[in-house]
Symmetry: C2
Subunit: 358 residues, 2 copies
């Protein structure tokens, strides 16, 4: 695989999920093949969307939540000609297959809960009407996510100096959300506000979301970006070229501990040592108030092949044992501020996070 530049047919503003009314499909940017190819296949069943989430066609906690909502909506549309009993049984299966797609990002369960609430409140209606309501709710979840990212962007941008190099890990950009992004949304909003922001992007092994997706997104927007391997972050901090760190989150516990892409903890520990502000940008839908702290966040372990190589290339022995946790947990004590759509929470703890929901 060789990446040719410029990229073929780049979209101007990145739409990670796009509803196609004509086909009745939710179209998703296939993030496994970026930046080599830009493709937006359509999905018309819950099982197909669940598979897209599991195989990481779509990834990033908020985007997973939006995709799951549309997974319910397309399934309802697919089954709307059934009688009520058959429709209800099909929808129950749809929720189950979507809930089992990936375990860590809580937005998935949050979005399914919202869809479930709509389903419950419409159960007296005929399936076609229920399907219409579920599609409206999916559209609402997507629209709210984009608005939340815009609000986080404004709140977060105020935290950055007028000139700064910001390090980020993985991709918490438009591709990880309905649009604009969480961590990259803050950076985009800071740039829109006239600040001179450059980005240091960790490549983020094993699936290289930093090298492939964050770099691609920022290049679309003309925001200066420099790519490094994950193990260079500490050296860059030693050199004094990192002014702030901003990352996203897959699940924030009630006390501010949070799960994010594997390697985030390492960056947080290094930022703490170097007294560099460490910011987490996440919408309220990422906060799991049921979990007292981060110890109980379920951490997905993915398949060995991802670590033995990349795509179709293998560089390690086929029989070497591998660990492949997709996330790690960073304690709240290492977080300078949690940026939400409601406001910025400095030094997040249980009381300050609970106050967000008042």
């Amino acid at each position: 695989m060789t990446i040719k530049s410029p990229i073929r047919s780049p979209p101007r503003s990145i739409e990670t999920l796009r509803w196609n009314e004509t086909s009745g499909r939710i179209e998703l940017i296939d993030q496994r093949i970026l930046p080599a190819r830009f493709e937006m296949p359509g999905y018309d069943s819950a099982a197909a969307v669940a598979n897209a989430i599991q195989s990481m066609v779509v990834r990033g906690a908020p985007a997973i939540g939006c995709a799951a909502a549309y997974g319910v909506a397309v399934e309802a549309r697919r089954l709307r000609e059934l009688a009520s009993a058959g429709f209800a049984a099909g929808m129950a299966s749809a929720f189950e297959v979507l809930a089992n797609s990936r375990p860590t990002a809580v937005n998935l369960f949050w979005a399914l809960q919202r869809m479930q609430t709509v389903l419950m409140s419409t159960q007296s209606q005929a399936p076609p009407a229920i399907a219409d309501e579920l599609l409206r709710e999916a559209h609402a979840i997507l629209a709210e996510d984009i608005r939340a990212n815009r609000a986080m962007g404004v709140h977060g941008a105020a935290l950055l100096p007028d000139t700064a190099q910001v390090l980020t890990h993985c991709n918490a950009g438009a591709l990880a959300t309905g649009g604009h992004g969480t961590a990259l949304g803050v950076i985009r909003s800071a740039v829109e506000a006239g600040k001179r922001i450059s980005v240091l992007a960790d490549e983020t092994r094993p699936l290289l979301q930093g090298a492939r997706l964050t770099v691609w997104e920022l290049q679309q927007d003309g925001i200066p970006v420099t790519l490094i391997t994950d193990n260079m972050a500490g050296h860059m901090m030693q050199l004094g070229v990192v002014d702030a760190v901003i990352v996203g989150a897959d699940r924030v516990a009630a006390n501010g501990d949070f799960a994010n892409k594997i390697g985030t903890y390492m960056v947080a520990v290094l930022a703490h040592r170097h007294r560099i502000p460490f910011y987490v940008a996440a919408p309220l839908s990422t906060i799991d108030r049921q979990l007292v702290d981060g110890r109980k966040i379920p951490i997905e372990e993915r398949n060995d092949a991802e670590v033995r190589g990349f795509a179709d290339q293998r560089w390690a022995s086929a029989d070497v044992g591998v660990r492949n946790p997709a996330f790690d947990v960073t304690p709240a004590e290492l977080v300078t501020a949690l940026i939400t759509e409601k406001r910025v929470v400095l030094q997040p703890n249980s009381a300050r996070i609970a106050a967000l929901f008042d």
Copy 2:
């Protein structure tokens, strides 16, 4: 590229450098293509050896030192029919090309100094006799390195518990030395002494010496090894499955600060936070007494393509800016002990390191 297992014709005891008296060549395991292929091309000029060092056919500070010594020796043999003046001029060029091959590992300069001393002390002799002396010195440097690794192994093994999982970064094994290894030498010696040691190997982007070389070496010896990406080290420490860290060094300053493969600093900071012993195994030839501390260690910056992909695969845009420092510097305060062939230096500092040379 696909790695088939088992590997074709593996050597039983790894000889990273092998003198071939018949051909007059120094043969080097081509470490760029392991573990997919095992090849040992021969080199018969200083320029060819310098190129092998620069392109990382051979790498690892002690192995680079040995290779440079043989680079001088093969050049002397190649030029031995010249008159003394031509021979002297040729040898001066040889030293220069070898000294300019890579900047960070001080063993390169240490070995060239030893060869220079032999050249100076034999200048009244005829070129063929000088060439013989230089070859003898190269053999001595190689033999001493293997002995030093064995001694480090014995000293270092005593530091490890009877049962331990040890994390290592990059490859400080037989392949990085004349044989046995520095960090992996300690692990091998501990296993030989009956300890139950398993290894967690950081893959070590961008050139993946951990995934390719450390895994291969340990599998040859039947030592249990688990491969992780570099950004998983902190999570593994959080899980409590790392009992000690052992790494090698490319240059140790007089105060114990040391340069090693990029990412070592990150591991040291994490080990410090988790109160996990952090050991550096390095022969005296890696200590640069001229440098008061680590700030002046020259850090090689390698080419961008290494970060944009691996081998012939590229996953990032061809036009993204890249940083590619090959090493970082870890301050002595993070080092639990420096393991040398003479003895173990606990909490290394200037006085304790100076005492090693008394």
